[in-house]
């Protein structure tokens, strides 16, 4: 009779009732909001760059007329000497000055921007863009090209990608597909960091609290490891479900409150606008099979459990948490490899690389999800991949239970592969 449910139940109830869990669950969303808010706020503030005053010394006498800086740049055409300008820069009156030599028009010289440095990449790019555009325009006009040519040059060129599928044509949205892969990679990574680390710590704790010998005389290490990973996994899911429900609930309440305060006609108008926007919006989203969310969830769970059991194996192999660092590549590398290769997978989702990687358990959660979004993956490939993933999970638990068993018995020495092999035979 298996003791997995008993062990998983303890892991789950002990942890869900702990203060640490309650605090983390309460503070998690706040932390997430902060994490989300920081880049947004940063973007908002950085777009409101401080105003800059730039002096332009136009020795070409032409290009200056075509210079077109963004609104927050104040441009001052000047005939002051370089020394005077430098003094003004030193005094802080000017952010910098731009020198446009006559040779710039013929294509030999280079524009020079003098400043005391700083301003960042964005400022540098803006100035470069503005000067480049102005020089190009001036050069074209100098050749006496007709307006029609100018018009052609400034026209946008759109290329739409249409993918031919069994169901018909659909917009190819490779860029958006990548998001699923990165999102999956990110999600698994976060969960491994949050909960996998708890699994690892839990396994180490069994050894440091010296209860391992008592447990080993009552339960198979396999059951212990499986129970731990499943129990802590359920704890993680509980936390996410609480967050999701709280988020949905808050949004709903906020909607009600806003609705009671705001003019109903306004809301109607908004709703109509939203409805009108939807079809357009939908065009940007790839056509995804209706079962996609289900598969996404299955691959997420499989990946999460597999990576958690790797963390359990690491916990089994080390004496204390500090020693675990040297083994973390076992978990990090398989997450990085598919993330790096997502572009290749998307560019050829039916190729050998993509197909192979979408079947290899450690890569499949990320790669298969991208492939499913990018192309029509035959159903048997999806299920084969899922079965392999589940098999790898059980195998990883099995391996970690062997390492654990040898770990508690041997006198502080690392298990050799030979010893591991013997344990696998005998148990």
């Amino acid at each position: 009779m298996s003791q997995i449910p008993v062990i998983a139940h303890r892991e789950y109830t002990q942890r869900v009732r702990s203060k640490a869990f309650i605090i983390a669950t309460a503070l998690g969303p706040i932390l997430m909001l902060v994490l989300l808010a920081v880049p947004i706020l940063a973007a908002v503030f950085s777009s409101e760059e401080e105003a800059r005053t730039i002096a332009v010394v136009d020795q070409s006498e032409v290009i200056g007329d075509y210079l077109d800086f963004p609104g927050n740049y104040e441009v001052e055409e000047t005939r002051q000497t370089i020394d005077e300008l430098r003094a003004r820069v030193d005094a802080g009156e000017l952010s910098g000055y731009l020198v446009l030599p006559p040779s710039l028009l013929s294509g030999d010289g280079a524009a020079r921007y003098y400043s005391r440095g700083g301003g960042g990449i964005m400022a540098t790019e803006r100035i470069e863009d503005s000067v480049r555009d102005a020089v190009r325009e001036a050069r074209i006009l100098q050749t006496g090209a007709p307006d029609a040519v100018l018009g052609i040059l400034s026209e946008r060129v759109d290329v739409q990608m249409i993918q031919i599928t069994d169901e018909g044509e659909r917009t190819d949205s490779t860029q958006i597909l990548a998001v699923f892969g990165y999102f999956m990679g990110f999600l698994i990574y976060i969960c491994v960091i949050l909960y996998g680390a708890i699994v690892m710590r839990g396994v180490i704790e069994e050894k440091t609290s010296r209860i391992s010998e008592l447990i080993a005389s009552s339960a198979r290490p396999f059951d212990l490891m499986m129970g731990k990973v499943l129990g802590i996994g359920a704890m993680g899911l509980t936390q996410w479900l609480i967050w999701i429900f709280a988020g949905v609930g808050l949004t709903f309440v906020a909607g009600l409150v806003l609705g009671s305060v705001m003019d109903p006609t306004l809301i109607d108008g908004d709703a109509a606008g939203a409805a009108a926007a939807t079809p357009q919006f939908r065009q940007f989203l790839p056509d995804i099979p209706s079962l996609f969310p289900v598969y996404f969830l299955l691959f997420f769970l499989g990946g999460y459990l597999l990576y958690s059991s790797l963390m359990a194996a690491i916990g089994s192999a080390v004496e204390q948490e500090a020693d675990a660092q040297q083994f973390m590549w076992i978990v990090i590398m398989p997450l990085i490899i598919p993330t790096v290769l997502i572009v290749n997978v998307m560019s050829n989702p039916d190729g050998v690389l993509a197909t192979t990687m979408s079947l290899i358990p450690l890569f499949s959660p990320i790669v298969m999800v991208v492939r499913m979004a990018a192309t029509n993956v035959p159903w048997w490939e999806i299920w084969l991949s899922l079965v392999l993933l589940a098999g790898a999970f059980v195998f990883a638990i099995w391996i970690s239970s062997r390492i654990y068993r040898v770990g508690i018995l041997s006198y502080g020495k690392r298990p050799t592969f030979k010893e591991l092999a013997r344990w696998m035979r005998e148990a």
Partner: protein
């Protein structure tokens, strides 16, 4: 009936257990003794199915040990340990459930046992709030909670104060009366001597002595003298220097000496009377187990394992 049949266990280069055979029967306490590193714990772990022998076989009630025997076995490891942040009650319920008994039964028995150890009000205390001695008691309760037929105690008295050690001893004797098979491992010979019916001595992974306490002690004969006296004790040094005796214990007023090289008790008595002011006690006894162990293990290369059967 527990039977260990020519069991060998090797750790890489070290032969931890070398062809060990022993048996323990219901209603008796078998003392497993030997110094640290002799192979006691490895033997126990194989009996508890935490590890498996390289060769040989271990059976309980005629069946090879395995997950099934873990359920009818209670094991108190030398290295004590419980989940530190878990409450006493929940912990005992959990450990009981791991042994396959329902939660309600586990709770009932756990409460009964805690009561016995004067610890009923610890139920909702966390383990790390308890003292070492209290944790010890909880650990013991976890060992007997599921009413196991086979009990293995590895150094059960270490860390207990005399009062609790006595309480534990009486509990162990009760369990013996109930017909449990009990294995008691220790390197404290006097405890083994007090408690055990049978003993099995291990040194360097091999059994050097095996039999009932009675038989073993009798086979060594009455070659030990106990003395209690007042006055000078220089006669002891003289006798020892002359190679007539070996001093086992010696305090200010009392001593225990082993007669060697055919020294008669009379010689010791004469020497004592010639020197001490008052002699309170003079007694010829069997040697303590410790002495037997030293003579056996010391000369274990000259095979001493056939002392008695």
């Amino acid at each position: 009936m527990l039977k260990v049949n020519t069991v060998t266990k090797r750790f890489r280069t070290k032969l931890a257990v070398d062809a060990v055979s022993l048996s323990a029967s219901s209603g008796r306490i078998l003392g497993l003794l030997g110094p640290n590193g002799a192979g006691k714990t490895t033997t126990i772990r194989m009996i508890a199915y935490i590890t498996t022998p390289d060769t040989g076989e271990i059976t309980f009630d005629g069946k090879r040990v395995g997950p099934w025997s873990q359920r009818v076995m209670g094991y108190l490891p030398e290295e004590r340990g419980l989940y530190r942040r878990m409450k006493v009650g929940e912990q005992l319920e959990y450990l009981g459930r791991l042994k396959g008994i329902p939660r309600t039964d586990a709770r009932e028995t756990a409460k009964k046992w805690l009561d016995r150890f004067d610890a009923a009000d610890w139920w909702s205390k966390r383990i790390d709030e308890l003292s070492k001695g209290m944790q010890q008691k909880v650990q013991f309760v976890s060992t007997v909670l599921h009413n196991p037929d086979l009990l293995i105690f590895d150094e059960p008295f270490s860390g207990l104060d005399p009062i609790n050690a006595e309480l534990l001893q009486s509990v162990i004797l009760e369990l013996k009366e109930e017909g449990k098979t009990i294995l008691f491992a220790s390197h404290r010979m006097e405890q083994v001597e007090q408690l055990c019916d049978d003993i099995c001595m291990i040194a360097n992974g091999r059994i050097v002595l095996n039999g009932t306490v009675r038989e073993i002690k009798q086979s060594y004969g009455r070659d030990t003298v106990g003395l209690e006296f007042d006055g000078s004790s220089r006669f002891l040094d003289d006798l020892e220097d002359a190679g007539r005796i070996r001093v086992i214990t010696r305090t200010h007023q009392a001593t225990e000496v082993r007669l060697i090289d055919g020294t008669s008790p009379r010689q010791v008595l004469d020497a004592a009377l010639a020197e001490v002011d008052t002699l309170f006690r003079f007694e010829v006894v069997e040697p303590p187990l410790n002495e037997i162990f030293i003579s056996v293990a010391g000369g274990s290369n000259t095979d001493a394992s056939e002392t008695s059967a």
